[in-house]
Subunit: 159 residues, 2 copies
């Protein structure tokens, strides 16, 4: 069990691509949501995981994650998913001593690019790269679980 503290931002432009140091594709889908827990299968590169996150919102939350065989993950995504899977490519982008992750979404979320940073404490000071836009940490519709239900390409402009 881990407490996860992260902040999330919209990405303003493509200039981060000059400093990315690696990437891997992600496919993930939710198989259950209750008032207590969100349940996800994720394939990240060659590795697969089952993850349970407490549904309590905010900056820090309980998370339980276990590595599982990739073949099981493929089967479970096909058999148990509530909505079509989310697909994205995750890039690692260092900036002034931190590693940012930049997620370039595909499929029904095509056009959406988000950056995340994991923190050791909620009030940790961080240096912001110039390509970082609006913070959306507490905006529920940028959560992956929301993006599965209401993908980016279905949002109406001015929302």
């Amino acid at each position: 069990m881990a407490i996860e503290i992260e902040r999330k931002f919209v990405v303003r432009d493509d200039s981060w691509r000059q400093s990315e140091i690696g990437s891997a594709p992600i496919e993930q889908a939710y198989f259950a949501r209750t008032p207590q827990v969100k349940c996800r299968i994720r394939i990240f590169g060659d590795n697969a995981y089952i993850t349970l996150k407490s549904a309590v919102g905010g900056l820090s939350r309980h998370e339980f994650e276990y590595k599982i065989p990739e073949a099981d993950a493929v089967e479970m995504i096909r058999e148990f998913s509530i909505e079509p899977p989310i697909t994205k490519v995750r890039y690692d982008v260092p900036f002034k001593g931190n590693i940012w992750t930049v997620d370039v979404f595909g499929g029904a979320n095509d056009g959406l690019v988000l950056a995340e940073i994991e923190l050791e404490s909620a009030d940790q000071a961080i240096a912001f790269p110039p390509w970082i836009g609006e913070e959306v940490t507490n905006n529920p519709r940028y959560e992956n679980s929301s993006l599965a239900r209401t993908p980016f390409t279905t949002w109406t402009k001015g929302d």
Copy 2:
């Protein structure tokens, strides 16, 4: 992923106790149910598991099970359970070349004793011990998931 084929019976009396060869306590709880999948945490003796079973009924069903740290299981049962956990003691009882499992339920299912046998094929012939009663393989209210929602002690006589 495994295909699970098992038959389930009510236990008629206590005579199986003369031939039991071992037992372990089980505590388990469901953290999600969807039309596709039932999701369970189980602590069985000193081991703990997360299990996803396809919700399609019948004699055989898809099951995915992974070993997890016991401390995680305790925490997840407390934090994510839909209903109070099921508690039971599971006994191994050999009879004519097969090992039967006998579950003696406690808590809100006190008084219920069920026997199960795992088969290699749905039409496999088996020798029945004298303490085996009515078959309940296809009776949904004897499923553990049902017993969590509607425990045995709440059933009315003549149901």
